[in-house]
Amino acid sequence: MEAERNAGGERLLDVQGLTKIFGALKACDGIDLSIGKGEIHALLGENGAGKSTFVKMLFGALEPAEGRIFWKGEPVDIANPGAARHLGIGMVFQHFSLFEALTAAENIMLSLDEKIPIMKVAERARELSKTYGLPLDPFAHVGDLSVGERQRIEIIRCLLQKPDLIILDEPTSVLTPQEADRLFETLETLRDEGKSILYISHRLEEVKRLCDRATVLRHGKVVAHCDPRQETAASLARMMVGDEVAAVRRLEAPGGIGEALLEARSLSRPAANPFAVPLREVDLTVRAGEVLGIAGVAGNGQGELFEALSGEIQQADAASVRIRGRDAGRMGISGRRLLGAAFVPEERLGHGAVPQMRLSENLFLSRFKTDARSLLGPLWTVRAGALTKAAKRIVEMMDVRKSGEDPEAAALSGGNLQKFIIGRELDRQPSVMIVNQPTWGVDAGAAARIRQALIDLARSGSAVLVISQDLDELFEMSDAIAVMHDGRLSAPVPISEATFEKIGLLMGGAMPERHASEALEKA
């Protein structure tokens, strides 16, 4: 197998000079790429490098402006996703394209061309899920499932179409280390069966571990074709960014750890809806100068904790949340902001920012209470000049790349919008900062910048709480790590005593995949 791959084998896909233009931006500029049979090919690049645009053209979701695609040696025109599937190209999307109101089996059935009764679909899905070790309950509603489980549905759905080429768009950005390991095993099995995989990622370690060849994109152009196993993570990063990625520095706090700025005392909350987790007696303390990390498998109450701390949901007991020594449990978001707290929610678009509003307007929405003096004029009119100046300051501080002077939030790439949203809060010099998933789906360069900014904030005397599913990130940033499981928060583990194993055990407090594995046993 190995030898055949290295010898080049049969060519499955050949792309020549693929180009896509959006307005003034060349999202893809003459991209060449070839994939052999039974090869895992990595497509590397920072956010906005053109990876997603490129694969959307391969999958027929976007029309290329120029360039040719050869499939098994024949020139093809992929007019729509249906045509791509027909050729044997399957795709697992980064932002899942599942129907939440439908069951797993119904979701799968929709993508099959043949007409098969639903029971048969469920049976075949079960078989595949066993073969590839992807536990799945065909009759669960997608809306009830965790991100990892949803991804399995996507993969099984893709496999049922018996594709020759499987495109995976940042598949591990939502998975725990254990889930990611299981995914890699599945992908290796698939490769050994002779299927080809186009693997899009900016996580260099996993690309080195998994992929046979890599194509690196930067600003819409191919900068290198290489063998990732011959490269170091640093050399790959240099190709992606075009520069060295600064390692995050974590200095000791100059004044040492100070007084408690953020506290939660027996913070409880019933489950808000059937898909939610209750909070059970959460206790935490974050002191001045300290970064506390909160780890956990997605959907164990982290989102609920964030809402309770930020004031999106208020508590009956005012003393259950204390900010700078004041009881804040019954305060709204603005009240807590006025005490010096700042919040960055998990979802950038729609929660952290209004997609159709300009950056300066989004800035105004989160700061008009705390910065009323500088942003509001007489009779509560908006001082546009002060606003654009502040937006500009943030853009410069965080190196936000955008097109146009003051674009709409939705026009920015994910990483750049995240930099803006974090910068919007940092710009206030908050004494308490609470961030949920600071670098979700953000490229290496931007992520390093965000992490450094948060650490620097803590070292300047603020309390920083970071909720994240990315363990590497937490180990890089935190002074202590606490783990959320089933609505409970563990005692914090000081970073000097924390190991992946220790934290992983706490994360798995029980079986995180209980739901699906039970279903598999039943099957």
Partner: protein, 304 residues
């Protein structure tokens, strides 16, 4: 006495049910057509006119269905192909329907109508108390029940129904799967229009066989509300329509007997009762979340 009350309830409920079940399919595909009232009144005037002119009520029914569908396709063209705002376009459709029907119907005012006869099923219709209610009704009553059963089966047990629901849940994902979102929505809108037209024909050919301007009297709006309160589920629409019919007939009887409750309150009672009951049965939030079309009213423009 009970039997005749039951029959009047069915007469009050059937037009609501037919219009609502059509709108349910439209909304399940993710389109909000607020023009039900307009399509209904167009069906009523066309049905009456054709029936009177040709002497055949069945031709009237057919014409009403076709005109309802054609009228809804105008809505479909505007909202689906030209991507106009669905709410505004639906409201415009209602106003247009009321106006055009008034103009066409001017010639028919005061004319004696043609009534669609009842169909009695032998033996079964002799069952005491409910026999005539269930088995000696006008044909559109039977059709309304068949429609509910058919729509329920279609939505939840056929692949085409699954496809339609998927389009209403997430049109971007559906498009990515190669499902023809716009074509499916056109079909759903046309079906909704046909049903609204049929419901209109029921009013002018069964309920009161004559033409009166604005004879739908807000029934299109009630049908729309029923769909939402029934959380987009066919059999609940049936329950809601009959509950509404029952309370409206009941309050009429109460007014006749002279119950000492202000008549305005009694007139409002059917609306109140329907809302309260349907809200109570939609308490299960999980089921409601699963049944609500997430893309309702959102325009679909594929990226190219």
């Amino acid at each position: 006495m009970l039997e005749s009350v039951l029959i009047t309830i069915a007469t009050a409920a059937t037009p609501l049910l037919i219009a609502a079940i059509g709108e349910l399919v439209v909304e399940r595909s993710g389109v909000l057509n607020l023009g039900v009232e307009g399509m209904m009144v167009m069906g009523a005037v066309t049905g009456f006119g054709v029936a009177v002119t040709t002497g055949s009520p069945w031709l009237g029914v057919l014409a009403a269905i076709l005109v309802g569908a054609a009228f809804s396709l105008l809505f479909g063209f505007l909202t689906l192909s030209l991507v106009t705002n669905q709410v505004a376009t639906g409201l415009a459709l209602t106003l247009l329907g009321l106006g055009v029907s008034g103009m066409i119907g001017e010639a028919f005012i005061g004319m004696p109508g043609v009534k669609l006869g009842t169909i009695s099923i032998p033996v079964l219709s002799e069952i005491p108390y409910v026999g005539r209610f269930l088995f000696a009704q006008d044909p559109l009553f039977y059709i309304s029940i068949v429609l509910v059963a058919g729509v329920s089966y279609f939505l939840f047990f056929t692949r085409a129904g699954l496809t339609l629901r998927s389009v209403g849940d997430n049109h971007d994902s559906a498009h990515a799967l190669g499902i023809r979102v716009i074509a499916i929505r056109y079909a759903a809108v046309a079906f909704g229009g046909a049903c609204a037209g049929l419901a209109g024909a029921y009013l002018s050919l069964v309920y009161t066989p004559q033409w009166i301007e604005n004879m739908t009297a807000g029934r299109g709006w009630i049908a729309l509300a029923l769909v939402v309160f029934a959380s987009w589920r066919p059999w609940r629409v049936l329950a809601g329509a009959y509950l509404f019919g029952a309370v409206s007939i009941g309050q009429l009887h109460a007014q006749v007997i002279g119950v000492s409750i202000p008549s305005q309150f009694l007139t409002a009672l059917p609306y109140l009762a329907t809302v309260v009951v349907l809200v109570l049965i939609s308490r299960n939030r999980r089921l409601t979340m699963v049944n609500t079309p997430a893309c309702l009213g959102r325009p679909f423009v594929p990226a190219r």
